[in-house]
Amino acid sequence: MTGQAVLSVRGLTRDFRGFRAVDGVDLDIAPESVHALVGPNGAGKTTLFNLLTGFLRPSGGRIELAGRDVTGLPPEQVARLGVARSFQITSLFPQLSAREHVELALQSPSGLGWRFWRSAKLMRRYAERADELLAMVGLADLAEAPADALAYGRKRALELAIALALDPKVLLLDEPTAGMGLEDVDRTVELIAWVRRGRTVVLVEHNMSVVGRLADRVTVLQAGKVLVEGPYEQVRADERVITAYLGSADVSGSH
């Protein structure tokens, strides 16, 4: 399967001072699929994302992106290869407006960022596209608002708009619906279902109904190891998964 996977991981390991947060993970993400990563708190999902995007160096193992070895590349280079991520803990530029965030992301591949002798008004060429993206995530009215002033759910939506602005081949979303109200969750699910076309999406998500609606395949992590992998229905019914969650209501998919 390695040959056709967009993202292929072999024996990926990460130690924190003797504590093994990610432990020999093998993972193949099929092109243009939505692949969910689930698992209890502390299972190593975010750490895995940080390894995939270069924010952490692996202690061992190998990461391939479309057949190319990207193990140990710094985050900005991974981003340039078409991998965008959102952060579990909302991560924005407090003083910049929502539109400026999206403009910064749109501008990133162009090299415009180096033009210290030109006016920032040049970035207005991205304003129209930025407003489109903001409208898609429901932030049309808040384009001028500084990120600081946005409510939590709005910040999550802005995270998503930024990730989309990068027009990535692979989109890594760390709990995109965490802390959202039901209505925003629905909108986000629809949005992900829409943007997945032509893209590969890896999704960390605790809300199993979201996983059920979006994911083609599900990998369950526990204590840094892959516990089960398979299609959603199969994983949901798996004994070991139910035990891992200790019968948590989440797994039954009801909400």
């Binding site: 924010f55 900005e76 579990q88 407090p94 910049l96 960022g113 006016s119 920032a120 600081d148 965490a178």
Partner: protein, 338 residues
């Protein structure tokens, strides 16, 4: 069900707003009025002050704006900017003495030398942040100081470079009053360059890097290279100021490279307001004028008074002089953005 785990690579929220380009949000006429007022003051200055003091204010204003470009807009506190100010002063002095070129050419050569020196130092320093960045820049500045101190055949050691000429197409610039007006265009060009940098796409990226470097990297911005570029640009602007300082004083002394000079630059920025750009002008005007007045009235402990004022400003006006005014402007015109 979000985790309480805070991995070190999850970016942290940026620090509190510093009145960043608050005036840029004021209506157009306010900004043009401020610009006109600023130019009027700049043109009048040597009529109201001793011209030599006015020249010093110009040089220090440029120096402060250069330091603020790093401190306020990139989030890097350089504690070794005397290295660029002083290196440019020496190179400017040597070029002016030996080549007989017009003084702006000598100043430009000095500023370029400062920028070149900033490349290797910046390359090593930008890998650190916070206090460690300050320590690395200080350490390199100390090395530059000791090299200058030892290399007497070139720098003339304690005596310094004497008799730096003020050549400009044979014009007589010995009078400080006329020299002020010859130096002003260079300073205005440097300030305009700083303004342009801050308001460029590059400047926007710098602010992003300052507030959330991890996020900037995830967007594909090579943070170290951006910081290095900002560092070199800042060194160049500091060099313009240092070169003019050498021509203005007609001599270059070792204290242009001393760490207290680096410290004074930071104090001027804090006094004026970090991240305000123009605050450096106010800070420079206040500090240079005050120091001159104190030493003229024969007061011994100049540092005590300036230090006391510094402490007062830090405690009472945390945004600095310009930042406090800008905050008022912002309150008056809260939402306008351009």
């Amino acid at each position: 069900m979000t985790s309480t785990v805070d991995t070190t690579v999850e970016p942290r929220p940026g620090r509190a707003p510093s009145g960043l380009v608050a005036v840029g949000r004021a209506p157009g006429w306010v900004r043009y009025a401020l610009l006109a007022a600023g130019l009027a003051v700049a043109l009048w200055l040597p009529n109201g002050l001793y011209p030599a003091v006015a020249v010093d204010i110009l040089c220090w204003a440029l120096f402060a704006v250069a330091v603020d470009l790093l401190l306020g807009f990139t989030g890097l506190m350089s504690f070794g900017h005397a290295a660029y100010w002083g290196t440019s002063a020496y190179v400017t002095g040597l070029v002016a003495i030996n080549a007989g070129v017009p003084f702006p050419v000598a100043v430009l050569a000095g500023a370029l030398a400062a920028a070149v020196l900033a490349v290797p130092i910046g390359y090593l320093a930008v890998k650190r942040t916070g206090i460690y960045f300050a320590m690395v820049t200080l350490a390199f500045a100390q090395m530059v100081y000791f090299v200058a101190n030892e290399w007497r055949s070139v720098t003339r050691g304690e005596n310094g470079l004497q008799g730096v000429p003020r050549e400009l197409f044979g014009l007589d610039l010995t009078d400080e009053y006329y020299f002020y007006y010859a130096a002003l265009p260079i300073v205005l060009a440097g300030l305009a360059a700083a303004w342009r940098i801050v308001h460029s796409p590059f400047g926007r990226v710098l602010v992003g890097i300052r507030d959330n470097p991890a996020r900037a990297r995830a967007l594909g911005y090579p943070v170290h290279r951006y910081k290095l570029t900002a560092f070199v640009l800042s060194a160049f602007l500091a060099g313009l100021g240092g070169g003019l300082f050498a021509i203005g004083h007609r001599l270059v002394a070792l204290d242009t490279l001393h760490w207290t000079t680096s410290g004074k630059a930071v104090i001027v920025v804090v006094l004026g307001g970090i991240g305000t750009l123009w605050g450096g002008l106010l800070g420079a005007a206040v500090l240079v004028r005050l120091e001159d007045w104190l030493s003229f009235s024969g007061f011994e402990a100049v540092g005590l008074v300036t230090g006391g004022i510094f402490v007062l400003v830090v405690l009472l006006f945390r945004r600095g002089l310009w930042g406090s005014v800008a905050a008022l402007v912002q309150r008056r015109w809260p939402t306008r953005r351009n």
